[in-house]
């Protein structure tokens, strides 16, 4: 999958990965890769600043812990993050339905 396509949806993807459970940065990367069937191929170093940006916006929060002698920053969704994720899912469903209809020459989906 093209990197520029993924990049535009990175925030939503990160929120979705954290919806299941709190994770630290590398576990978020692994979950993105596993959840996308290996399609996620953005530079993984860009995930960490994206997580910091979501935290600054109040959509996730983090805490430090020490695991096997190494400090890890673990992230979890906030209530605002859950609402933002729900909005992104709804927007994506509407968008993908409309684009699919156009690309496949089908009638425009009725507004719900």
């Amino acid at each position: 999958m093209r990197a520029e396509v993924l990049k535009g949806h990175l925030d939503g993807l990160l929120l979705a990965v954290l919806d299941d459970e709190p994770r630290h940065g590398y576990a978020v990367i692994e979950a993105l890769r596993a959840g996308s069937g290996g399609q996620f191929d953005l530079p993984t170093g860009t995930v960490y600043p994206a997580l910091r940006r979501l935290e600054a916006a109040g959509l996730i929060r983090s805490g430090w812990s020490v695991v096997t002698g190494r400090r890890r920053r673990t992230y979890r969704l906030t209530d605002a993050g859950r609402r933002a994720l729900a909005e992104q899912r709804s927007a994506w469903e509407d968008f993908s339905a409309a684009v699919s209809a156009l690309l496949q020459g089908q009638p425009w989906p009725a507004a719900t």
Partner: protein, 220 residues
């Protein structure tokens, strides 16, 4: 052990390469990149557990992380907001303290009224600095969800706060100098302390304003 040292060196060199592409205070850069370094160590360990040699595991983890300039470009806006936020907090914290020092130094009544009346521009400068600093905290915090992403707004807001602080410090230092010239003698220690505090903040605010204005007006 030797293998782990090789891997650690690869990771350290990579993180240093990313850091060298980033502007801003070293302490903020180091803190921001600590997570990247720890994440790379996790990536190296995961590959070693799958049977890869340390050297190959480190090279693969670093390659997967991306070119240093790409990762630095992703960190740059985050660091810029962190630096703006830190500067705004410093201005909000030092404002009342330095203000109180000048009230004690220049007004026998120990009241800000006469001081603000002597220099009518001071209330406007203080208010501008405070509002701009609070705006900086708002647009770099949770309120950005409501305000939306306005490029360069944090840098412009904190630069405004810094410029207003510089002007306020110049105004009170000018006032103190004028009084010292009309009433020469031994300066009370409180005046010296207030002047030193203002001079220090003036130097820092000037440097910060220059940095943030340069960042805000940089193309691309």
């Amino acid at each position: 052990m030797a293998g782990r040292d090789v891997a650690s060196r690869h990771v350290a060199e990579y993180v240093a390469a990313v850091a060298s592409e980033l502007p801003g205070p070293r302490r903020i850069r180091t803190a921001a990149l600590a997570e990247l370094r720890d994440g790379l160590c996790d990536a190296v360990d995961a590959r070693r557990q799958r049977g890869l040699a340390s050297d190959a595991a480190a090279r693969e983890a670093v390659a997967e992380s991306g070119p240093p300039d790409i990762v630095a470009a992703a960190y740059a806006p985050v660091l810029a907001d962190l630096t703006a936020r830190r500067t705004a907090l410093i201005l909000l914290a030092t404002g009342p303290v330095i203000g109180m020092l000048w009230v004690l130094a220049l007004t026998p009544e120990r009241s800000p009224g006469p001081l603000l009346g002597t220099a009518p521009v001071l209330p406007l400068l203080v208010a501008t600095a405070a509002v701009a600093a609070v705006l900086t905290l708002a647009v770099t915090g949770a309120a950005q969800r409501l305000l939306g992403d306005v490029p360069q707004l944090p840098q412009l807001a904190v630069a405004t706060a810094c410029v207003a602080a510089v002007c306020a410090d110049v105004a009170v230092l000018g006032l103190a100098t004028s009084r010292a010239l009309t009433d020469p003698g031994v300066l009370p220690w409180i005046v010296t302390l207030a002047a030193a505090a203002s001079a220090l903040r003036l130097a820092g605010s000037s440097r910060a304003a220059h940095h943030f204005l340069r960042t805000a007006t940089r193309p691309g």
